[in-house]
């Protein structure tokens, strides 16, 4: 039987041309957490964040919820951003919150690419999708696909 299962579900909602709202859920046999955060698309800066702990291991864990606010102003594009998230949010707060933020960060450019391809397909259903993706990647040197 499966003795440990961990799932992440990350959704990306484009609030407008400048901002994407991520909702991230982490659920496993031990923990259940959720993060909602708004990110500025141009530079990856976290503009707002909320977190909810639904299942955790001890009564001190929820003290990590207010520490989440230190993520506001961090950029998901700056050098070493994953280490910074783990240090500031994970070590001082909750590593599971940090893991969800990191996963949302990994989705930033993939979500932009999905949005761009969706829009292009509306105009051209016969679009060569492979060529579109490679052109988009080549035209956006800032991206970090993961």
């Amino acid at each position: 039987m499966i003795t440990l299962n961990r799932s992440h579900v990350i959704s990306g909602e484009f609030l407008n041309a400048q901002t994407i709202r991520f909702n991230g859920i982490q659920d496993d046999h031990i923990y259940s957490m959720e993060i909602t955060m708004d990110v500025r698309i141009s530079d990856g800066e976290i503009l707002a964040i909320e977190g909810k702990m639904k299942r955790y291991t001890n009564s001190f864990c929820p003290q990590a919820e207010p520490i989440l606010q230190t993520a506001v102003g961090m950029s998901l594009r700056e050098e070493g951003w994953e280490r910074r998230v783990m240090k500031e949010i994970g070590r001082k707060g909750c590593e599971h919150f940090a893991e969800i933020i990191t996963e949302c960060g990994h989705c930033l450019d993939q979500a932009r690419l999905s949005e761009a391809m969706w829009e292009s397909l509306q105009n051209d259903p016969g679009l060569d999708q492979e060529q579109f993706i490679q052109s988009w990647i080549d035209g956006h040197p800032e991206i970090q696909l993961a």
């Binding site: 440990l4 299962n5 961990r6 909602e13 484009f14 999905s114 490679q134 993961a146």
Partner: protein, 162 residues
């Protein structure tokens, strides 16, 4: 408002009859479908088999993922894994997705061993529960200052002479 992007990821640990652990890591989003399977041998948590398959719209730079993942054979899950994985799967010729998959799979293996410990602690209350958490910290010093619950001023850490 409809969303324009959705990613589902799951990692599962399944003990095998030969004593090893099978770890299945899978990802599916609007553009990418990926699967990484590891076989982990106990007791030293050595990765003895590793396979990866990427489908849907795979960036050109990741086309060698199926070969790259084989570099993980012989690596042990333990301290220093992050640096080892970065060295083997990271960099311009690597595949960041595979590196994440391996690290998340390794984390799942650790959580797999943590689950029974956490479950045993659930039967306890009050000071008895605190004491059991303190014992866990003594056995796993890496937990110290690893999160808000294990900071120096936490009631868990107070009374611990480490």
């Amino acid at each position: 408002m409809t969303i324009r992007f959705l990613r589902n990821k799951v990692v599962e640990v399944e003990p095998q009859s030969d004593g090893s652990l099978s770890v299945s890591w899978r990802l599916s989003d609007d553009l990418l479908k990926a699967e990484v399977n590891l076989k982990v041998q106990l007791p030293d948590l050595e990765i003895v088999d590793a396979e990866a398959e990427l489908e849907r719209h795979v960036p050109r730079a990741w086309h060698s993922a199926g070969e790259l993942i084989k570099k993980m054979k012989g690596v042990r899950i333990g301290s220093g894994l992050r640096k080892i994985v970065q060295g083997l799967l990271g960099g311009p010729d690597g595949c960041a997705l595979l590196a994440h998959a391996v690290l998340e799979s390794a984390n799942a293996v650790i959580l797999n061993f943590t689950r029974p410990v956490v479950q045993a602690g659930e039967k306890l209350e009050g000071e008895e529960k605190l004491e059991s958490i303190r014992e866990m910290v003594k056995a796993n010093p890496r937990l110290i200052r690893s999160c808000v619950a294990f900071q120096d001023d936490s009631p868990i850490m107070q009374g611990l002479d480490l």
